[in-house]
């Protein structure tokens, strides 16, 4: 199967741009994700639980400068789906990493506090100590070249369990479905 753009064509919708103050939709948008199912690269450390339900808590990492780990790109399933050999022309794979401080309400990513581009390994030790006893969201993606042209994968996150609960947006940014961890008290 040929790799495709992530969003379907959305024809016929009336274009608009507006600012809304809408606090109540978050509960719906945060919940209902498939247990263990992820989009993008799967984290190896810290381990992921579930976004909603059992394992909802943020996983406590082992230090204020944890080493985050994730699977390498391309994965077996990427190669298996690549019938046209696009990934055979793939070079210069690196990784982008972002960490967001979680908000106090809904534990939603509130502020991007750490970002790295072009990491060459599938792990990264946070360079500056994070704040103790704070909840964070994090995500990672691959950046690479195909025939010399830059490409990225989608930011990694939990998969929706029920597409009907996505709400009106094709994406919410920053995503409430990024992975989560909490730093130790000290």
């Amino acid at each position: 199967m040929r790799p495709r753009r992530s969003a379907p064509m959305n024809m016929g919708q009336r274009p608009r741009s507006r600012v809304q103050v809408w606090p109540l939709g978050l509960l719906l948008l945060v919940g209902a994700c498939a247990p263990g199912a992820v989009i993008g690269l799967r984290p190896e450390y810290p381990p992921i639980g579930q976004l909603f339900g059992t394992g909802y808590d943020f996983v406590e990492v082992d230090s204020l400068q944890p080493t985050l780990r994730w699977e390498a790109f391309p994965r077996k399933q990427d190669l298996a789906a690549d019938t046209e050999g696009v990934l055979g022309q793939l070079t210069a794979v690196t990784y982008d990493l972002e960490i967001w401080r979680a908000g106090r309400t809904f534990q939603y990513p509130a502020e991007r506090v750490y970002a790295k581009r072009g990491l060459t390994e599938t792990f990264h030790r946070i360079e500056q100590p994070l704040a103790p006893a704070v909840r964070y969201s994090w995500t990672v993606r691959a950046r690479f070249l195909v025939n010399g042209e830059p490409r990225v994968t989608e930011w990694a996150m939990y998969e929706w369990e029920n597409a009907k609960l996505r709400g009106p947006f094709e994406e919410l940014f920053p995503s409430p479905r990024y992975f989560r961890f909490a730093t130790p008290v000290q």
Partner: protein, 78 residues
């Protein structure tokens, strides 16, 4: 329990469309939203609503990055 001064979130709702200049055909369309951290209404309104302006600037910057990603860079794999 309900908070008497609950956090309020700023949503920036955008409709991204890529049109063919020759005939206006929509080649790509996507609806996205930015959501801010929650703040009490009084915090949003402080210093003549400067936090609202700052948050809008931040949202536009992030969404601009995202538009570049989805239109020019993003490839999805299973």
């Amino acid at each position: 329990m309900w908070d008497v001064n609950p956090p309020i979130f700023l949503f920036l709702d955008i409709q991204l469309s890529l049109l063919r200049a020759a005939d206006g055909t929509v080649l790509y369309s996507r609806r996205s939203a930015w959501v801010s951290a929650g703040r009490p209404l009084t915090a949003w309104g402080a210093t003549n609503a400067e936090p609202v302006r700052q948050e809008l600037e931040r949202a536009i910057r992030y969404l601009a990055e995202r538009i570049v990603d989805v239109v020019f860079l993003l490839r999805s794999y299973p």
